[in-house]
């Protein structure tokens, strides 16, 4: 017996654990109650604590009482309900997917609901609340099904979050397209998308309460089975638990809960992620919370506390009328983004990075053919982009224009159209190059400037400058974008540096930072230019609208330098992308080389943002496709990726300008619509 393992450390007695859990629960209830009480005393009407007290004891004057009853209490109740529903949904989703980063946001449930409601709004039918809740539920469920189906259950944390985030981006792009196309029908939908818990009376809460209760009861009923899933599918099956049915039921119930929350208040970001994460440390101390049956209500309480806390904080910080304009969801999104980053940085990177593309040796002929075909396609596309638009031109017009003897209209059209074509071509090439560099340096097939938050940081920098200095020039916008990009890059790469860049942590931190910058841009626009949602959408969706040649110059300059550097050092890129050891054996200064390439890619994405807004997925799609076509050698990948990027963005811009003319869509929206399926495909392929 002496050789056996030491006796297991004494566990705290179950009795004290139970008592502790009870004490913690009581404390949580008290905290939420306190927040709710504070929330009730805040608002635009002059009804403070004293009046609230009077109203609650029935001694207030009727007007004050009605404010408390019809405005404050419903708002607090909505906050409670929404927070609780999201927290509970988060626990359920995390339990069935065995994944600490699953939540209504990361499973694209909110984005699916948003798109479904947007589609309903466009039809112009005014729906009763319950019906729109049903639509939101259907949309959310469909999105969750796609994400869970693609990412596989219980497997990769990273894959789930990435599939969810990518789908959310694609769906949101479609919805934002709808917002731009149907501004009247979808009025207020943009604000709604930020999430706000204000209510017109109790009606909404009363209608959604049964839905939420249904979700809660359902979850409690299957709690035991969900617990069993934690043991692994086979073990659970061994215990006689129907794994598939349990999982589907839990996801449906969680979607029901988040649909109720979304219908009531719009998507309140990240509560479903944060609340379970806050409960988890409790579960470590008090074993009672480790079981789903207790974790669900506990996360509900924490979620309610988060939403009410965000609301209280917001109203305490800014004056009441401004607070009305700032959506609660922006505050929780900011908090949640920080949370996601911290969690990602601490996460043990168990999931393997997606396997590198199979080493394909392609013949020189294939490479040359590809290059030639792409070059011809690019030329043709450029010609098409110059000729096509709301008014169609012919080549002779262009010839006249080049010689400076074109007629008035043709000159007008070409003077305004060519800068846009250039901006699209160059931005596409720059993003493709930036993506190629980042993927080589980090050896991460999912890394790209938009996913890493670098583009978002650039947009934030540019928006800050544009809102403070209305007549900022092209170079200063590019400079501001670079400052923003550089800052986010330092944060993202700095946090991900531990353990090397190749880890998936990099992408997760990036995703967190990207959503943080999006929330900050929304906040900035709401505070400085509340009636200009188009402005925010233009920056966030990527558009070449209104670009002139000088605007494109910084991008052209940086691209020229970057192409030269990459061409000279393509062998180093080959080595860096191979593995950690080979370059070192060859005496290469890895850190410095990496830093140089990263700086270059940050410069590229920043100038691309300044010229055309945040255009996602190009940096991902172009290098992948290039490697698939011509193999992994950078001497071949680089030119092909550059051409592909230019072709992709130019096509997106051309479609955006012509399909629904005279109205138009940003190129970024189009690339998201094209890029999302590709991103999901890459994820799928990595699974095998």
């Amino acid at each position: 017996m002496a050789v056996t393992a030491p006796t297991t450390p004494a566990r705290p007695a179950t009795v004290t654990s139970r008592a502790g859990a009870a004490a913690v629960t009581t404390a949580l209830v008290l905290l939420v109650a306190a927040l709710a009480v504070v929330d009730i005393t805040q608002g635009t009407a002059a009804v403070g604590p004293a009046e609230v007290l009077k109203a609650l004891t029935g001694r207030a004057d009727p007007a004050d009482a009605s404010v408390v009853i019809a405005s404050r209490l419903p708002r607090a109740a909505a906050g409670l309900l929404v927070g609780a529903a999201l927290g509970m949904a988060g626990v359920a989703l995390q339990a069935v997917s065995r994944n600490v980063l699953a939540s209504p946001d990361t499973l694209a449930v909110n984005a699916g609901s948003y798109l479904a409601l947007g589609l309903a709004a466009v039809t112009g039918v005014s729906l009763p609340l319950l019906a729109s809740s049903g639509i939101a539920f259907a949309g959310g469920l469909a999105a969750a099904a796609v994400v869970l189906g693609l990412s596989g259950l219980g497997a990769g944390t990273v894959r789930l979050v990435l599939a969810g985030t990518a789908l959310a981006l694609g769906l949101t792009a479609v919805t934002e397209g709808l917002l731009l196309l149907f501004p009247e029908q979808t009025e207020g939908l943009y604000q709604w998308n930020q999430g706000s818990i204000g209510q017109n009376g109790f009606e909404g809460v009363v209608q959604m309460l049964p839905v939420a209760v249904l979700g809660l009861v359902g979850l409690l009923l299957i709690a035991r089975r969900v617990d069993a899933l934690a043991l692994g599918d086979d073990a659970a099956r061994g215990l006689g638990v129907p794994v598939r049915a349990t999982r589907i039921t839990a996801v449906v119930l969680a979607t029901l809960l988040s649909a109720a929350a979304v219908t009531l208040a719009g998507p309140i970001g990240f509560v479903g992620l944060c609340a379970p994460a806050l409960v988890r440390p409790l579960a470590r101390r008090f074993r009672g919370f480790a079981r789903v049956r207790t974790a669900v209500p506990a996360a509900g309480l924490v979620g309610a506390g988060l939403v009410l806390g965000a609301d209280v904080l917001l109203r305490a910080c800014v004056d009441p009328d401004t607070a009305v304009a700032v959506p609660t969801g922006v505050v929780t999104s900011l908090v949640g983004a920080v949370f996601l980053v911290v969690m990602a940085a601490r996460l043990r990177d168990t999931a393997q990075a997606a396997a590198p593309d199979r080493l394909r040796i392609r013949s020189r002929a294939v490479f040359l053919t590809t290059l030639a075909v792409l070059a011809v396609a690019l030329v043709a596309l450029t010609v098409a982009a110059v000729l096509l638009g709301d008014s169609k031109l012919l080549l002779g017009d262009v010839a006249h224009w080049v010689q400076g003897r074109a007629g008035q209209t043709v000159s007008f059209v070409l003077d305004t159209r060519t800068p846009r074509v250039f901006a699209a071509l160059l931005a596409g090439a720059a993003l493709a190059l930036a993506g190629t560099l980042v993927q080589a340096v980090t050896r991460n097939p999912l890394a790209e400037p938009a996913v890493l938050g670098v583009s978002g940081g650039g947009a934030l920098g540019a928006v800050i400058l544009v809102t403070t200095v209305p007549l900022a020039g092209a170079w200063s916008v590019a400079g501001a974008a670079f400052a923003g990009s550089a800052l986010t890059a330092v944060v993202v790469f700095g946090l991900a540096a531990r353990g090397g860049f190749q880890q998936n942590r990099l992408v997760l931190v990036g995703v967190g930072v990207a959503s943080g910058t999006t929330a900050l841009i929304s906040l900035l626009i709401v505070l400085t230019d509340p009636f200009n949602a188009t402005k925010a959408l233009t920056w966030l969706s990527g558009s070449t609208y209104g670009r002139t040649l000088p605007d494109v110059l910084p991008l052209a300059g940086v691209l020229a330098v970057a192409v030269a550097v990459a061409a000279v050092r393509h062998r180093e890129l080959d080595l860096v992308s191979l593995d950690e050891d080979t370059p070192r054996l060859l005496g290469l200064d890895l850190p410095r080389g990496r830093l140089g390439f990263l700086v270059l890619s940050v410069l590229l994405s920043a100038t691309a943002v300044a010229a055309a807004g945040t255009i996602g997925f190009v940096g991902l799609v172009a290098p992948h496709a290039a490697r698939a076509l011509v193999g992994r050698r950078h001497a071949r990948v680089l030119p092909v990726a550059l051409l592909l990027g230019a072709v992709l963005v130019c096509t997106a811009d051309l479609l955006g300008r012509t399909v629904i003319s005279p109205a138009q869509l940003g190129a970024g929206l189009m690339t998201a619509v094209i890029g999302t399926p590709y991103f999901l495909y890459v994820l799928m392929r990595g699974r095998r």
Binding site: G43, T44, A45, A46, S66, V67, A70, S71, G124, L129, P183, E184, E187, G188, W192, G198, N200, G201, E203, G204, L264, A265, G266, D321, T322, V324, V373, V376, A377, A380, S391, L394, L395, G396, A399, H400, R405, G407, Q408, T409, S411, F412, D415, T416, P419, P530, F531, K535, T538, S543, Y545, G546, T548, D551, A628, L629, S661, P662, A663, Q664
Partner: protein, 324 residues
Amino acid sequence: MRRLLLTAPLAAAALLLTACGTTEPAADDAKASTEAITLTDATGAKVELDGPATKVVGTEWNVVESLVSLGVDPVGVADVKGYKTWDTAVPLKNDPKDIGTRGEPSMDTIASLKPDLIVTTSDLQPGAVKQLREVAPVLQVTSADAADPIGRMLENVDLIARATGTTERAATLKKDFEAKLAEGRKALADAGLDGAEIAFADGYVTSNQVSVRPYTAGSLIGAVNERLGLKNAWKMKGDEAYGLASTDVEGLTGLGKVHFVYIGNDDDPSSDPFGKELAKNSVWTSLPFVKSGDVHRLSDGVWMFGGTGSMEAYADSLVAALTK
């Protein structure tokens, strides 16, 4: 991918073959200029015209309304359908080309109209204005100014009138506008409403939330109210251009006993929360002006940020509602 790569050059060749020729003959001689007009617009830019502009494009509804009032039928208007919904006080008399959204009007469509003047506002992004200046002379007016809303609106009318050679008509418009305000003021005073407190707002509903947008003293409507001898009841500060603030239903409790006036639109179901969604809200129903039935929805189609025509229609509608 392979197939795509093969078809691309074919498509390209076809495109190149079909795209030869021109859509417009080469420019020959410039047309002789007559009675040239030179003005300085709101941004300080010089606008030079060969003569009074007749083919005019408007990128924002307020300038379109001014153009129509001045007897100049614009050839291009942004979001024609929206204009027809929200500004029936000054209906379009012709059938202008839709140039796209107000935020991002299409350069191509504008250029294809060959306008001799583009009238736009400070709401359009600078880059777009820069491009438009290459298309045709651009007259950029300050969209609104909370420091002097009426003065700003009339100045804009003047500026547009000078560019289109309709200064006489502008003088008539201004005279009619002043007369309408004086007439309204008298009617209200006769009804004992001189100095009465008024709160104008619009509101919209999303999901179960009601947003209210107060029109403070810095808004055009607010300024017209004051000229009609009424007092603005809103105490919050609006934004610097349009004088608009934001609040929610409980924010209305600070108003006291006022005349509450709003404009909705039957074609936009979410634009009438005061008449529909708030009916059962006890905060709303306990408001003094709601109890006394002093809530007035004015006629549809009066554009709250429009020109003299909209404001006259507003004054008429308001006087009719308050003196009923």
